[in-house]
């Protein structure tokens, strides 16, 4: 930010007076931004622009399109006006993080998975192809849980055998990462002990060789105890502990978990509820105990119809801020996309005109996922095989440009279906 010149000081004083007139002088947020807008003449430094950018920028005060002058002849051939994409340089970059570790790396996973590394907004292939495609982790629970029918049908024969459920997700649905939700550890559910939870994790680690995300129950103290135990047992596996919160910090248990994760070579997911300032605060705290490259963020996924637009916008904001250089937001982000099923429209009987639910439900999860995919999410926790299949396919398609076949749709307006 440059220092204020005399001229600008005058404007600033004038503005302050005006704001006072409005009784707005105490209102910081919006008005300060306006002050900045008014006095901050922006000078684009040409040396920082690529030649392509320069070509693409039209002067701000471009001449308005002249109204049709009767004297002027209408064009008879197409006037050439080639397109040059407006591209940008971003000072920041999302950190690259590896989930899981192979034998030689100190773990026992078959194929570790790399996420993050983005240097542009999501799927801006005209600027750069993302180094790693977003990845889907499939949800598995350590007990029988309330599930919508569309999902239950897929798992009810294995839902009391966690290892079998895990194998189903990997062998049948092709999961590259699994999330094992230790729901039974909830003091209000079964209050399973950390030792028992550890055993379940051990079984799953043996049953499958994909990287694991370990999901807690949401109780700060219990999660801390469970995570610490598992971190020790799964030494070197690079599991992702999902999740730690500022509540854990308040309860005085954050440090212990984060240190255990760092000591035994794991990753940590910081969860905050739709609040970037809190997300940054949590990341700062975590950085005291664990390398910044081992931290992921969960900014909250609200279901479609239940606030997805807030999630969408906070993810877009976070990603752009990170690319613009905010180091506290340069962590890969995870979405608990299964939350989509919290919307009643995903599972409820709404009458025959909205059937079948066997399509409506998974589509609900798919749309929730795709919206956040375009907002920059790197890792998705998902549940329904049809939603997962579509996400995988679209993600793969989004990774390469230049495959559109114009002839396929060139005559669509006149074509019969």
């Amino acid at each position: 930010m440059k220092t204020l010149g005399e001229e600008e000081k005058k404007v600033a004083t004038k503005l302050a007076e005006l704001l006072k007139l409005l009784g707005l002088e105490d209102n910081r947020d919006i008005e300060l931004e306006d002050v900045e807008l008014t006095i901050g003449e922006i000078i684009l430094d040409p040396s920082a622009l690529t030649s392509a950018t320069l070509k693409a920028i039209t002067p701000p005060k471009m001449k308005a399109v002249p109204p049709l002058a009767p004297t002027k002849a209408k064009p008879t051939t197409i006037l050439e006006a080639p397109f040059t994409p407006f591209v940008q340089e971003y000072p920041g970059k999302i950190r690259e993080v590896t989930l899981g570790a192979t034998k030689s790396e100190g773990g026992s996973r078959g194929k570790p998975v790399v996420i993050g590394g983005a240097t542009t907004p999501a799927f801006y292939l005209f600027e750069k192809t993302p180094p790693n495609p977003p990845v889907i982790s499939v949800d598995v629970f350590d007990m029988k849980v309330t599930l919508p029918k569309a999902i239950r049908m897929q798992v009810e024969d294995v839902w009391e055998d966690t290892a079998a459920w895990a194998k189903r997700a990997v062998d049948k649905w092709g999961a590259k990462v699994l999330t094992l939700h230790l729901l039974s550890t909830d003091p209000l559910i079964k209050d399973t002990s950390p030792a028992e939870a550890m055993k379940t994790v051990e079984e799953v680690l043996q049953a499958v060789d994909v990287p694991l995300i370990i999901g807690g129950c949401g109780d700060p103290k219990k999660d801390a105890a469970v995570f610490t135990k598992i971190a020790e047992m799964a030494e070197g596996e690079r599991v992702l502990l999902s999740s730690v919160t500022l509540d854990m910090d308040e309860a005085g248990v954050l440090e212990g978990v984060a240190k255990a994760a760092a000591k035994h070579g794991h990753l940590i997911l910081g969860f905050t509820a739709l609040d970037l300032n809190r997300a940054k605060e949590l990341n700062r705290k975590l950085c005291d105990y664990i390398p910044e490259g081992d931290i992921l963020m969960d900014l909250t996924t609200a279901a479609l119809g239940y606030g997805l637009e807030y999630s969408f916008t906070i993810h877009e904001r976070a990603r752009i801020a990170a690319l613009m250089g905010d180091t506290e937001l340069q962590h890969p982000v995870l979405s608990g996309t299964t939350n989509a099923w919290a919307a009643r429209e995903a599972w409820m009987n709404l009458g025959p005109e909205w059937e079948p639910r066997s399509l409506r439900g998974p589509l609900w999860e798919t749309v929730t996922a795709l919206s956040l995919l375009l907002a920059g999410v790197d890792l998705f926790m998902m549940m329904h095989p049809d939603a997962i299949r579509t996400m995988k396919k679209v993600t793969q398609q989004l990774m390469t440009r230049g495959k559109a076949k114009p002839e396929k749709i060139a005559n669509w307006a006149n074509a019969k279906i």
């Binding site: 005006l18 007139l21 409005l22 922006i42 684009l44 920082a48 039209t58 701000p60 209408k74 064009p75 051939t77 197409i78 006037l79 006006a81 080639p82 994409p85 407006f86 940008q88 971003y90 801006y124 005209f126 909830d186 209000l188 949401g218 109780d219 969860f271 509820a273 909250t300 609200a302 119809g305 239940y306 606030g307 997805l308 969408f312 752009i320 613009m324 009643r344 409820m348 909205w354 059937e355 079948p356 399509l359 409506r360 589509l363 609900w364 798919t366 749309v367 795709l370 375009l374 907002a375 679209v394 495959k403 076949k405 114009p406 396929k408 749709i409 307006a413 006149n414 074509a415 279906i417």
Partner: protein
């Protein structure tokens, strides 16, 4: 120095209340209803009022500044009107690229196709027919958080490529519905037949291509209709045609870089993004027009079952709603295809700064008395309206305490600690419900079950000793069942 999004935005389209204020008459006459001109300027910048609400600016002596203000307030994506009178629909009018920069204006209308070779009515079950489809579009309705979500337009396509056939189909459609129209054919003589049938309706012409642009531009001028430019996966052509047709005299344009299903999804999303970005961040006025998405092309892609094609069309639509389509053409009218999209469209066009919330207070349903059940929920609008509509549906008399969770739903509020035993106890106390009922039972949402024990303790702390918590259903549709089984509660039976 790096060029950040923010700086580019300012360079291209910077606008502050001061800029606007300086051009206003500055009489502080209050005729607009605001306290002074600065307040009016602030609202103008926020698009909460229109310039024409300032009577002095419309006077002859301010003609020049009025024009200038119109210019600086013009959205970066031009607003185009399809249809006339009360049935007109406005598309585009976007001020920004990203939703967090400013509210998106003009929710993208969704048009559904009929073809000129469809019968008027189905002759056998499942046959697609013009009037049946039009009626289905008109009758679509879903009530979402107290708002009616609807479908918007009809796109008439000519598969016959015959002017007479097209004219008669358009004629039938205009007789059947007042919904705004899109006429789709690449043949100018067929298009003209349709335009004659739709005269006075100002349909959107779809579309000018590199081959027919001159004839289509003539038709747009002659019939006073907005014109779509179709340049599939060719942005050089799209921009060149835009320049050409603008010079030709057509002012209202809509751009179609092509919606490609299957392997073309990446190009589709990249093209839409590039066009929108050049307009918003690069100030390219040739591309500052609404974008049309045509997910209907999913039906012309790989062969598959009807269900799978509708599925594909549904998810491509949702991606285009997120990535800059200002208007869409679809085929499937199935409820399961439309529901996620009309909701997502509604959501993404809301004001990003404003939580969708209701006032946190005590609400009464029916005529509650001292033995009526007391429910508690959060102040997220959707949560509230969902519970409200269920309570109304069941009939009966209830109290509903709405706790302030900063507009976040129950599940997220519990996870994010916006809804805790403390905040529940506080909400119950502040509601004053304890003075209105004789019993001491609070029914909390099933999603907040984990808080039940703690809540009873906290209620004691706010001098509501003896209050017990009953865990309600996870979804408010289960309230009727809960009441049947558990109300009035018998001693020792509460959870």
């Amino acid at each position: 120095m790096n060029v950040t999004e923010r700086e580019v935005k300012r360079g291209v389209k910077q606008l502050s209340p001061i800029d606007v204020y300086m051009l206003l008459p500055r009489t502080n006459c209050k005729e607009c209803g605001e306290a002074n001109c600065m307040a009016f300027a602030a609202k103008l910048v926020n698009r909460e009022v229109s310039l024409e609400q300032c009577p002095p600016i419309l006077k002859k002596e301010h003609e020049k500044t009025y024009k200038k203000l119109q210019d600086i307030l013009a959205p970066v994506i031009k607003e185009v009107t399809i249809g006339t009178g009360e049935h007109a629909v406005k598309i585009g009018g976007k001020l920004v690229m990203y939703r967090h920069e400013f509210t998106y204006h003009n929710p993208a209308p969704i048009a559904f196709d009929v073809t000129d070779e469809m019968p008027l009515h189905a002759r056998f079950p499942g046959e697609e027919a013009i009037i049946d489809r039009v009626k289905k579009v008109e009758n679509f309705l879903y009530n979402y958080i107290g708002r009616d979500l609807k479908l918007d337009m009809i796109a008439v396509r000519s598969t016959s490529n015959d002017p007479t056939t097209f004219r008669s189909a358009v004629d039938e459609v205009t007789k059947t519905t007042d919904l705004p129209l899109i006429l789709c054919t690449f043949d100018p003589s067929v298009m003209e037949a349709g335009l004659i049938a739709a005269s006075g309706r100002k349909p959107l012409i779809y579309a000018a291509t590199k081959d027919n642009w001159k004839e289509m531009a003539d038709l747009a001028l002659m019939y006073g209709c907005p014109l779509t430019i179709f340049a599939p996966n060719d942005l050089d052509l799209l921009r060149s045609l835009s320049k050409t047709i603008i010079e030709y005299g057509v002012k209202e344009l809509v751009l179609d870089p092509g919606t490609f299903p299957d392997e073309g999804v990446s190009d589709t999303i990249n093209n839409f993004t590039m066009v929108r970005r050049n307009a918003c961040k690069g100030g390219d006025e040739l591309l500052g027009f609404p974008l049309i998405g045509t997910p209907i092309t999913a039906w012309f892609g790989e062969k598959d079952s009807k269900e799978m094609l509708a599925w594909k069309e549904a998810y491509i639509t949702s991606m285009l709603v997120s990535r800059y389509a200002d208007i869409l053409i679809m085929r499937s009218l199935d409820g399961w295809v439309q529901l996620p999209n009309v909701i997502w469209r509604f959501n993404i066009y809301t004001d990003p700064r404003k939580p969708v919330s209701v006032d946190a207070q005590l609400y009464a349903f029916g005529k509650p008395d001292e033995m009526s059940p007391v429910f508690l929920t959060t102040n997220y609008a959707l949560t509230y309206f969902t519970v409200e509509s269920d309570l109304k549906k069941f009939g009966g008399n209830y109290y509903l305490i709405v706790a302030d969770t900063e507009g976040i739903s129950v599940e997220s509020a519990v996870a994010g600690r916006y809804l805790t035993a403390e905040t529940i106890a506080e909400a119950v106390k502040n509601s004053g419900v304890a003075e209105k009922v004789k019993h001491k039972y609070l029914i909390i949402p099933g999603m907040a079950a984990r808080l039940s024990g703690e809540t009873e303790d906290e209620l004691k702390n706010v001098s509501l000793a003896g209050w017990r918590v009953i865990v309600g259903p996870r979804d408010s549709s289960g309230i009727a069942k809960l009441l049947k089984e558990k109300w009035p509660p018998k001693e020792g039976e509460e959870e």
